[in-house]
Structures are given as structure tokens and as C-alpha cells.
Subunit: 259 residues, 2 copies
């Protein structure tokens, strides 16, 4: 039987709120067994860009990562946020190790191909190096990934944190029974965005199609759900979208995904 | 017989100059055997602070690290500079892993005690965790340290990069025959700061005292030399202060330290 592994992803609204972050780190540090954390941080990057007077170009609601924006992303994600989380986990006896995809060549990516839009320094994941992650886990290390990858030619990339979590969970499923948790400030996928309690408790592929067609699922949630189904198709055992509290209390209302 | 280990420290003037950095990474990547890189980056931090309109307070010529300054230090050292170097080494087939002292709890520090001056979030090294560094080296990993440490209570610190290099070299001397190279833009310690060729090729403790008394050694060089002698006293095999080219060509004029 395979060992269990938790891959948890926390979003910007948790990282940005010191109280919510402390509470999450407290809960995450108490989870027993091997575990991996992946974090975003887009809001911090946008704030630093604003402070520096650097414009963030958006096309069709999607962010373009210019060279200047990439520097900001690397400074905030790999620098301030990642190291704040690592230090916070060390304080709670979690032997955290902060990683970008470049560190120990753990996530290889390639520049997103230009079709209609050039997203700039945005990388799509090509390969997760599961062996090195397993080696770290076997040393009792808790890898903490930020949303930065590289192409092994010296170029760093901004990469979607949800996708990184999904790709890591998928890769690790060869050796572990992986649970993937997407933790954020809401309770799960909502039927009605105005009603924070209208959690859709179970979504399979059929329901996903129906929700998409009925336009119940908003734009930002679509790629997250796609990442969930990608992970399930790549043999990740369980995938949940839940409030950050879920990590402490698995009985709280949340969304469970299945094929 | 112990295995050899190179601990190289590069200063801000090399990191800041893309051509010098490329050349150094090229040379460093070709050094065979286990190796560790430590880098500074004060100039980048000062520039970002200026861009953000954050004042850097100096007392008696020494920088005070406020909470705002610490964030900038973590963003530039652990973020942009560290990851640029890591990606540059990966490009050159060096399996680099970027580290602060908080990552894998590798360098524990404590806030510098307040005597006459409160330096703010400046940490003095308490302990280097040599076992985890050895484990990384045995995995073929090249640790790349920036000048950030932690206290294991969740607090990050700004810590002198020369001191980090000296402390790591000293700790690793229990298991390795360590060579410590301080690489910068000059050729070594200069007799006359106006004459870039006036390298003092050999400095022992007696000469050090004489140079200090004659005020040949300028203020910035004093702590660097102290770090060199500390390392030698803690059994580091060889210590050199040299131009970054020295890593490629050990026959170039440079300063060698001895007790």
C-alpha cells in the first residue's frame, strides 16, 4: 500500500491576511505524515507593482508578465511570501524548505506558446522532478513551493499556483496516495456567489459540464476546476476545494471533486 | 582523508554586473567536486528601497535594518538575486538549490544584542546545521545561500554574507577539507586603495595587526579579514580574498590568509 501524501495549495487571500495565515500554518503544521505546500500571492505582487509605478497589462482579463513584472513576481513569491511561510512553519516545528521550480531543477516549464496573446514570462509546466521531491520528503523536509518555475536555460517564469499544485500532486501519485486540497477563503465552489453557504458539495465531470453550461461557475473558478479534474485523471486519490479551516476539520462543508 | 569542499562568496559588485555575474557562474559551474555559493546583494536592496521611497538609516556608517528594510532584503536577496543565480547555475548543469537560513533550518541566528546601537532585524549566526548541508551535497546539490537567516521563532534576519560564508566553511570543516574564497571586483587586499595592483599577497595575524595599526586596511575590509581569521581558527584549510577570476585561474595575484 502506498503512503499518504497531502498537497495543499493556499491562495492569496489567506496569505495576505496575517491572522488567516497564522491559523492555516498552525493547522498545516499539525497534519501528520509527508506534506507539501504550494502558495500563490498575486495580490502582493500587484501591490508592489503599484508602489513601484509598474503597470500590469491585462488582455481579456488575464495578466501579462513583462520582464519588470517577472522581477516583482520573483521578489514577492520566492522572496517575501515564501520565506515568511517557511519561517512560520519552522517556528511550528515543520522543517519547511522553500522552492521555486529552478531550485534543484524541481519543476521544468516552457514559455506559454504565443497564439493570439503573448503572455510574456509565463511558463507552462513540462515536468515535475518527483524523485527529488521524494528525497526531500524522506529527509523529513516539507517542500513549500511558490508559483515560479524555470526553463533550464536560465529563464524564470511566472506559473499558475493551482496548476503547480495539480502537477505536483499528479507526479507524486506514482509513489503516494495523494490528497490535493485547494484551500481558500470561501467554503467551496458556490451555487450562488452571493450566498457564501451555497456550497456545491460534489462535482463530477457531468455536473461540471452542466454548471459550465448554466454559467453557474464563474471565470476564475473554471481553470481551478480544470486543474482538479486533470489531477484526478492523473491518479490523484482525492481532490477538495475548501476553506482553509478544512485542513483542521475535514467535516466542514466543502466541495469534493470526482471523475 | 577528507573530501575537498569549496565555499565561495561573491559580493554585490559582481552580482550587480550582468557580465561579471555570467562570467563567474560560468567559472563556478566548472569547478569539480562539492561546492557551496554564498552571495550578498546590498546594492540591489538599497536601490529597491530608494525606488519605494524607504529610507535606510545609518548609524556610524552601519546600516540599520527596519521592518520595511528587512522585507526589501528578503525580496531582493532571497527572491530576485538568489533565484537569478540558481536559474543561471541550472542553465550550466549545476544542480543549485537556493537557501535562506530558515530553509530546512540550515542557519539559526539571534537578533544582534542592543549595546549602544539597535541594528534592528540583524541576526548573528548561532548555529549552522552542517548535517543537512552534507545531505544536500551528497545528493549532488549545490547550495546557494543568500544573506538571510532566522531565529526559529518565525523571525527572519538580515545577516552579513561574509560571516555566513565563514560560519558555513567553519562548520563544514568537521567533515571536509574546506577552501574559502571571498571573490570580489578587486584583486585582493590592497596596500594602496588607489593602486589596484598593490595586492598584499599574504596576510597572517601579525601582519594583520600591523596593517590595522598603520591604518592601511580600510573600514570595510576589517570585518572581512576578521571573518577570514575566524574561519582559519575554526580549521578551514585555506582562505583567499581574490578577484572573481581566481575561481578559474588560481595563479592570478590574490591575497592568501594564514594564522
Amino acid at each position: 500500500m502506498k503512503n499518504r501524501l497531502l498537497v495543499a495549495k493556499i491562495g492569496g487571500n489567506i496569505i495576505e491576511d496575517p491572522e488567516a495565515l497564522t491559523s492555516f500554518l498552525e493547522d498545516f503544521s499539525k497534519v501528520e505524515g509527508p506534506k507539501i505546500l504550494v502558495h500563490g500571492g498575486g495580490k502582493s505582487a500587484t501591490r508592489l507593482a503599484d508602489q513601484l509605478g509598474i503597470k500590469t497589462e491585462m488582455i481579456d482579463g488575464r495578466r501579462i508578465t513583462s520582464a519588470e513584472n517577472l522581477d516583482i513576481v520573483v521578489m514577492t513569491y520566492a522572496g517575501l511570501l515564501n520565506k515568511t511561510i517557511v519561517a512560520g512553519l519552522q517556528h511550528r516545528n515543520c522543517n519547511a524548505l522553500g522552492l521555486t521550480g529552478a531550485d534543484a531543477n524541481v519543476i521544468l516549464a516552457e514559455k506559454r506558446p504565443v497564439q493570439f496573446v503573448d503572455y510574456g514570462y509565463v511558463g507552462d509546466v513540462v515536468k515535475v522532478n518527483g524523485n527529488i521531491i521524494t528525497a526531500f520528503l524522506n529527509q523529513g523536509i516539507i517542500p513549500v513551493f511558490c508559483a515560479v518555475t524555470h526553463d533550464s536555460q536560465g529563464q524564470l517564469f511566472n506559473t499558475n499556483a493551482d496548476t503547480i499544485a495539480s502537477e505536483i500532486a499528479s507526479e507524486m501519485s506514482a509513489d503516494y496516495e495523494v490528497s490535493l486540497f485547494y484551500c481558500f477563503e470561501l467554503k467551496g465552489v458556490l451555487e450562488n456567489i452571493e450566498d457564501k453557504d451555497s456550497v456545491i458539495e460534489h462535482i463530477d465531470l457531468e455536473k461540471y459540464t452542466a454548471l459550465r453550461e448554466a454559467e453557474v461557475i464563474t471565470e476564475g473558478m473554471l481553470p481551478k476546476l480544470q486543474n482538479c479534474f486533470d489531477a484526478l485523471q492523473k491518479k490523484v486519490s482525492t481532490v477538495h476545494i475548501a476553506n482553509a479551516d478544512f485542513i483542521k476539520d475535514n467535516t466542514t462543508k466543502h466541495t469534493t471533486l470526482s471523475l
